[in-house]
Structure formats: C-alpha cells, structure tokens
C-alpha cells in the first residue's frame, strides 16, 4: 500500500492525476475534464490554473506567476486556487507530491 498522501499546499507539486485529462470539446465549445465515469465542465479560471500545473514547479511558484501576470492580490489568487484544488483532491483527481521527491525547480 502507498504511504499517506501529501495534502494540497503551496509547497507541493500538484498536477492532474494520470487518469484525469483536460481536453477541448469542439462540439460543446468548452474545455472538459475527463476522468473515469466523470465529465466535469471547469470554468475558464479553473482551466487556466489546471493548464499551468505541469509538474515543473511548486504550487507556490504557480501562484506567484499568476499574481504577477494578472496584477491581482496574491492572497486572493492563492486562496481561490487552494480551495479549488482541495476540492479536486477530495475527488481523487490530483497527483500531489512533496517537493523533496518531485525534482522541482523553485
């Protein structure tokens, strides 16, 4: 059995689980998140965040970049992002790795 999971936090490397796939739906003209027996329709902001979770850096770095890019208060972006990701994590749709084993660039 695997060890206890890492919670979603800014120090972790967060990305979609290997069985979850973000995809453009040309028929419905929106992005969809596909997972076993589930189809989710994320809002554009959620899509933007998920597209940045490429496993190359910590969530902290992702939030920093979004705060710069959108010239928005960092704490607001961080709170919204963490809340959305915690929700996805509860649904077992994320892969969350502690930074020590993630070979991350900070």
């Amino acid at each position: 059995m695997s060890a206890a999971r890492t919670p979603v936090c800014e120090d972790a490397i967060v990305r979609l689980a290997p069985y979850a796939r973000l995809k453009e739906d040309k028929i419905r003209q929106c992005m969809v998140l596909l997972a076993p027996e589930r189809v989710l329709f994320p809002c554009p902001t959620t899509v933007m965040i998920l597209e940045r979770l490429d496993g190359s850096c910590t969530l902290r770095a992702v939030v920093d970049r979004m705060a710069d890019e959108f010239e928005a208060p960092r704490e607001v972006i961080a709170a919204d992002t963490l809340r959305m990701l915690a929700d996805l994590d509860r649904q077992a749709l994320l892969d969350v790795q502690p930074v020590e084993t993630g070979h991350a660039r900070h």
Binding site: M1, S2, R5, A17, P18, Y19, R21, K23, D25, I27, R28, Q29, C30, V32, L33, L34, P36, E37, R38, V39, L40, F41, P42, C43, T45, T46, I49, D80, T81, R83, M84, D87, L88, D89, R90, Q91, A92
Partner: protein, 394 residues
C-alpha cells in the same frame, strides 16, 4: 469563484432533442469466460456470428465523436475475447475518446495489457466477485479466476495504468465488503465502485439468490461511509444502492436518451443496456442508420426522453426533473408497462409490493444460481415479478 462542480454543459447547445450524449457503452461481444449470475446482459445473449467487425466499430466511434461523445466504455461480455481490441482502442484514442476497458481480467496477459496501453487505453475497470478466491470463483463460476485477477491488478500497477475495482455486491458476498475495499487499496486502485446488483437480465432471473436483507444493506452503507472518510483523496468509493429498498428511484442512465447510449455486439443502439426488455420498442441498428439520426430522431430514443411522456404520478411530481421517473426497464419488468412510475418510487402503487418482494426473498433460503451462459446450455428458468405474480419467460 472557481467552479469545478459537475455541471450542465453550456446551454447554447440546447436542441429540440436535448443535448449530445457524453458517454457510449460499446458491448463488443456477449462472449465471456465468467458466468456471473448477477450479469445484467439479456438472458438471450447475442451470438459471435452477429458481432460487428472492427471496421464497423471504428465507424461508430467516429460518428460518436461527431455527435459529442467524450468517453467510450469498452465492455461486453468480456471485451478482451476480441482479438482486434488493441486496434479498436487505438482508433478510439486517435479520435480523442477517453477509453475505459471494463474487464473480468482473466484472459488478459501482461504483454497484451502493455499493448493496450501503447494503443492509448486511459483506464481499466477490473471486476472482483469476492474478497476471497472461494467466494470469487464460486460466483464467477471460474476456477482460479480470483487469483488471475489479483495478478492482473499487480500488472496494471506495474504498467502505470489507472485502475478501478468493480465490486458488484449481493447477499452472497456482502460479508466480504471490507475485504474488497482492502483489496482495492492493496491493488493501488484509485477508485472502487461498490454496486449493489441491479436486477436486469440474468440478475433478475437470479434475484432471490442475490437479494440482500435490509440489515446487510445498512451494514454495507456504514462500511462505505466509513471507507469514504478514511480513504479520502486516496480511494474514491462510488456506491450504487439497491433500489428495491429505496424510497426514491434512481435517475436511470441520467434520464432516458439524455447523456449516454449503448451499442450491443450486433449494433443495436439502446438508451440503456437493458432496454431491449421493452418489447414494444424496436431499436435501430448502426448498420442501417448513423448514430446522430438514431440519437436525435429515432422513435425509441424519443419515446421516454424528457418529461412530456410521463403519466401521473410522475407528471405532477416535483422530482421529475431529478429522477425522470426512474427506470423504464424496471417499470416494464415489474409492472408490465414501461411508462409506469418505477416501483422503486414510494409514489408508485407497486412500491409496497416491491419492498415486500425484497424482504420475502432476502428472508428465504437462497436458491441455487442460474449461471450466465448461452441459452442452449442454460436450464429453463422464469423471470420473477413481484410477490404473488410470477411471470413465465417467453
């Protein structure tokens, strides 16, 4: 606010026929090495000679994508008996479908598993019939099957393919539910589907051998609730309740011809896998029509779509947009009329009979299983109705 809840797709796509389907269940074959008595395949299994070939399936996949299907469930019977499965998975993947293989696992080698992964398979659902070899092999009627499944589960982990364990539960394996959840964790599955038997096809014929007691159901629900908390974020536990003990009916298939469609081995297209039990409907075939016409315009798909078809008590019910009157096939099987309210609903005049039937069967000594096999090899059997009204099988 960020919104990641499952939601209706953008409403700009509202058409007179509703919305495009999101999922397609492709029953590639009715052949299966297992003989589970809870199988929801029709009692009259389709023959190998009538199965669609790979070219026909590929055309159907392409039509499904054009229509809006996002997820493809490759099922059966046992889909791995098809030698062209890799070819079919490859084409589905090329078309961008999320591909899910629903398998018993007993015929699948590690080498072939890797071929399927290379072809683009996204996910595997592996069935377990019990937590022990004794129970699993008895229910599947396949000696050595349980051990093969556990070997395959390890191979799935080594291949890095995501795994769901499918556990259909009933009176003869519910005492192993905790063991089934432990096995799912041991197999590194990310999800387990604990599904009480739904009584269609072979399962309906075996209902008295499968129906749990209310006490078994309550214990199972408590085990699932506990597992959901204890394994949150690690193991998703999906739970399908037995509607004979329910007050409200299930929104069967999310509503008739609303989100999913089913294609049988010979190409008949159904709004749900049991729909052919409604003998008054003639279902169109992909060999005669394209999928878009079937979904949007064919009579059987329109027959129970939406809420306009509903008689009372559904018509004036405030739940009608939530449960769509329940299951048409169950209404047909148990009340003789597919347009009736599903007897699982407490507002159905048949509801008390349904509950009494379940309690009566669960309290009796279980009869021997009638194992799923081609009819020529199966003993004569009846299809049970409700207490006091047993119907013969035609």
């Amino acid at each position: 606010m960020l919104d990641i809840e499952p939601a209706a797709p953008p409403s700009t796509l509202k058409e007179p026929w509703g919305e495009p389907p999101m999922g397609m269940l492709a029953e590639l074959t009715h052949r299966c090495p297992l003989q589970c008595p809870y199988c929801s395949n029709p009692v009259e299994l389709e023959r190998v000679a009538g199965e669609l070939d790979a070219a026909a399936w590929k055309r159907v996949f392409a039509e499904a994508v054009e229509l809006g299907v996002l997820q493809l469930h490759l099922s059966g019977g046992e889909p791995t008996v098809r030698k062209d499965l890799e070819d079919l998975v490859g084409e589905a993947s090329r078309l961008g479908l999320y591909t899910n293989l629903i398998t018993s696992g007993v015929l699948l080698s590690e080498a072939r598993l890797l071929d399927l992964k290379r072809a683009g398979l996204d996910h595997i659902q592996l069935s377990l019939q019990g937590a022990t070899a004794l129970t699993g092999d008895r229910i599947g009627h396949y000696k050595g099957g349980h051990a093969k499944k556990l070997e395959l589960a390890k191979a799935i982990g080594r291949a890095g393919l995501p795994l769901t364990i499918n556990a259909v539960v009933h009176r003869q394996n519910l005492d192993e539910l905790e063991g089934l959840i432990d096995l799912a964790l041991a197999c590194d599955a990310h999800r387990i589907e604990v599904a009480h038997v739904q009584y269609y096809g072979w399962a309906l014929a075996n209902r008295a051998a499968l129906m749990p007691t209310r006490a078994q159901l309550e214990r199972a629900t408590a085990i699932v609730d506990d597992a959901r908390v204890r394994h949150a974020g690690r193991l998703m536990v999906d739970y399908v309740i037995p509607d004979y003990y329910a007050k409200r009916p299930k929104p069967c298939m999310g509503g008739w011809a609303r989100t999913v469609l089913n294609v049988t081995p010979s190409g008949a297209v159904l709004p749900c896998h049991a729909a052919q039990s409604i003998k008054s409907l003639t279902f169109p075939n992909v060999q005669d029509h394209d999928l878009a016409w079937i979904w949007q315009s064919s009579e059987p798909f329109q027959r129970f779509r939406g809420t306009d078809w509903m008689p009372e008590p559904c018509r004036s019910c405030s739940f009608k947009e939530q449960d769509f009157g329940g299951c048409r096939c169950q209404a047909m099987a148990l009340t003789g009329d597919a347009a009736n309210t599903d007897p699982a609903c407490e507002f159905s005049p048949f509801h008390d009979l349904l509950r009494l039937t379940a309690e009566d069967e669960a309290a009796s000594e279980p009869p021997a299983f009638t194992y799923r096999r081609p009819l020529a090899n199966a003993p004569a059997m009846g299809t049970p109705g409700l207490v006091g009204a047993t119907k013969g099988m035609s």
